[in-house]
Symmetry: C2
Subunit: 475 residues, 2 copies
């Protein structure tokens, strides 16, 4: 390993925040936009998003969703229709006041989320029980004016998908809420190789306007939690505010029950911070823009580039996203660069390898080298990519599970999160105790996990506990 | 044909504008958004856009493009850097003045197009000739505040793709401009079954800031032209305004040459108006959300729904987007509905058909019925869809070619466009004559077609002609 090269990235253990910034910029995933708090998603980063989109979109459609597109601009008056919702989002909204050379009659918000405008359209479209359920999704940009921003994790504008549904009954709507949470969880584990913990959010942490929010939380390398997706049961809050009614079989008008659920480009941040290491990114094969890079060694010798190209063609035919690096640089330089870029598998091929009929195959996740017969690469590499994908999930889960501990005092919670752990603790359910944890330990209630059994007392106040909570510091 | 059903759509010959509005709304392609001039793209319309995206995206990537995402908000000051550009776009821009609860220091424009912000990033990223060419594309929303709007054709917000490139030389940039125009043309003909005429735009009609704009024009059923895509050669206009420089091999700093090219959700409008008829939409199989609808006849009889389902499964396995309509409505009602929705092929299956081992197959584009053996549907239907696709292009081309005429006087141009034709005529090249055609005939210069041979005199002023122009009324 070329030390000079690697030292460009801050120490992953000592300065994780700087490590993150170094990695996202140097691997050209992202750059800062000219307007404060905005980001430019560069091709290498966007290709990860495209892989996420393709995969999730299939899962959504399998669960009955149809894609649509609703307007970016929402009349400000819409936000005020749902009291909690406006309180939650008004401070973050960007407002258009002028257009077409004049001042607008009513200021327009750039959508921070689309419940209000989609609810308005649903109210128009839905007449009868025959029109239900409605399950729509949109892939789009949203805007939330944030004070402190970091690429992918929190930016003024980001890309996401938002599903919005209407059901005739509470049961169906709740079933959809939990089903989509499960879709996200399966996706996170299968495709991103990130184990997640799902559960209900506290009142303080729930979505503005929801009856209940369910989130999935992923542990990053520094022990902090990242909320990687949310599914909201909205009850009749929005259907009453936006008049989403249907004529039921019994001839009476009833309000529908709605849900919404979303994940965003934040998932790219999760992938970076769940798997990376001192050398840079470590990308799960299923989302890696390049799954295999082929590096010719002693390429000036006859036949090397040709053989590399032949291997690339074999792999591409086998459905692998493979690329050959023909650039006029040393193999060592290329190894470092592609390691930093997190490409899951590297194949080295030189004159001696060709003579022996083998190629050197190096896994990014373990950096172990094996020799594989060139003739067998077309079969071996797709299998290896599956293995890497699985191993990455196993390893993440093992690492995470060691860092989930229990505590029964505020001091225990503080020590736990300082030690980069998720801390499970009893909680009485009152806002004061939740705020106290925030104040003393800079940790928040991530999700409830009552199904594991509720401890006897609240770790903060010592009164009887109503819930078991995971506390953690969070992004 | 159920007359009561069909009369809901205005007469396609007598009131084409109302026919269009009726069709887009009744087939649930689109709805009006709450903010004036905005549209909601409903699932049936969005599915067409998804098919367009998937197809075009492959073509772009084959031509070296990588997708990326640039911010929605652009500092107003960026627009003023390219003089023509600001003049062209300033009147249409929507402006954010407030965000996060306060007034912004500098107002921000919602992108009407992204040359300025992408140019700013390119200037940062491009250092050396080794960094060239840069070919990026983004799929996104843009905003242009228009006075008169119509769904898909002209709305405040629309979806599009915009490609932005930088090359070292004029030749390469011009090659890219023409290459992407050709990509659009091939796509329009192969996938949308719409024949297009490509050519250079006049100075009056070109993109604000371009050296030259090349457009593709499609003839709608009413003889009007729709600009379906544009490819701009920007020369060094933007590289000089945004300082896009590279260090060349010879050690000197040089400005790059840039291009940009785009198509939008307008293409959906083109599909509707190029192929529709009195019954509603006629969708080309390659973009149809549903390619085949199976309608059970006398479904209460045993085995009919089961057979319909079996056929659907066979077709889906053969890669066809097939659906069965099991709803409790009469077959005749369903036939009308799916005809209005433009589904390319309908299969009717009833007890007698099952007995005979055949199904009735009806083409939407011709409405001719044939009997096909049920066992052969899996092979016959994919072939039929290809035939429909080809026939639709042939028929569109034939129809269009009959409506391209020549004229050598202003009156000839007027009569020509009144007769719903494209009119080819000589033009001296001066703005006055171009404006005169607009004033007298409400027609504009669509593209130059000098390669066909320039007439001797200008049809307007009688002076020597410099160009041959296609004049038409346009959307």
């Amino acid at each position: 390993m070329d030390k000079q090269f690697v030292k460009e990235i801050a120490d992953v253990n000592e300065n994780f925040a700087q490590w993150y910034t170094d990695v996202v910029l140097k691997t050209e995933l992202v750059d800062y936009g000219p307007v404060k708090g905005t980001m430019v998603i560069r091709p290498y980063g966007y290709a990860i998003w495209e892989n996420i989109q393709k995969d999730l979109d299939v899962r959504f459609k399998e669960n009955g969703a149809k894609n649509a597109y609703f307007p970016l601009l929402i009349p400000m008056s819409y936000f005020t229709k749902e009291a909690e919702h406006v309180e939650g989002f008004a401070p973050e909204v960007a407002v258009v006041t002028h257009a077409g050379g004049g001042k607008l009659e009513e200021p327009l918000a750039i959508r921070p989320t689309s419940e209000t405008i989609i609810g308005t359209m649903y109210s128009k479209w839905i007449q009868s029980y025959r029109d239900l359920p409605v399950i729509m999704n949109q892939w789009c940009n949203v805007m939330r004016w944030e004070k402190t921003t970091r690429p992918f994790l929190r930016t003024s504008e980001f890309l996401w998908q938002e599903g919005h549904t209407v059901f005739a009954t509470e049961e169906e709507a709740m079933e959809n809420t939990m089903r989509m949470l499960e879709v996200y969880k399966t996706f996170a584990e299968e495709t991103l190789a990130i184990p997640v913990i799902c559960g209900r959010k506290t009142e303080k942490e729930k979505f503005a306007g929801a009856v209940a929010t369910f989130g999935m939380e992923a542990m990053m390398l520094d022990g902090k939690s990242l909320q990687a997706g949310t599914s909201h049961y909205l009850g009749q809050n929005f259907s009453k505010s936006f008049d989403i009614k249907y004529l039921d079989k019994d001839g009476t008008l009833k309000y529908g029950y709605t849900t919404s659920w979303g994940v965003s480009t934040r998932l790219i941040g999760a992938v970076i911070m769940a798997h990376g290491d001192q050398r840079g990114l470590v990308l799960p094969p299923l989302v890696a823009p390049v799954q295999v890079v082929i590096v010719p060694v002693a390429a000036h010798k006859g036949g090397v580039n040709e053989k590399a190209n032949e291997i690339e063609e074999t792999l591409v035919k086998a459905g692998v996203r493979a690329e050959t690096d023909y650039r006029d640089m040393s193999p060592g330089w290329k190894f470092n660069e592609w390691e930093m870029k997190g490409v899951p598998v590297r194949i080295e091929i030189g004159p001696r390898d060709i003579e022996n009929g083998t190629a050197v195959v190096v896994r990014r996740d373990g950096l172990d080298k094996t020799f594989v017969k060139i003739d067998e690469l077309g079969k071996a590499i797709p299998e290896l990519l599956l293995t890497v994908q699985k191993d990455m999930l196993l390893r993440s889960r093992e690492r995470r599970d060691k860092k989930i501990i229990e505590a029964n005092s505020l001091d225990g919670i503080l020590k736990g999160v300082e030690g980069q752990n998720f801390v499970k603790a009893g909680w009485c359910g009152c806002r004061e105790c939740e705020d106290k944890v925030k104040e003393v330990a800079q940790a928040t209630a991530r999700v409830l996990c009552d199904e594991e059994g509720v401890p006897e007392t609240c770790a903060v106040c010592g009164k009887p506990a109503k819930h078991k909570v995971i506390f953690a510091r969070a992004y």
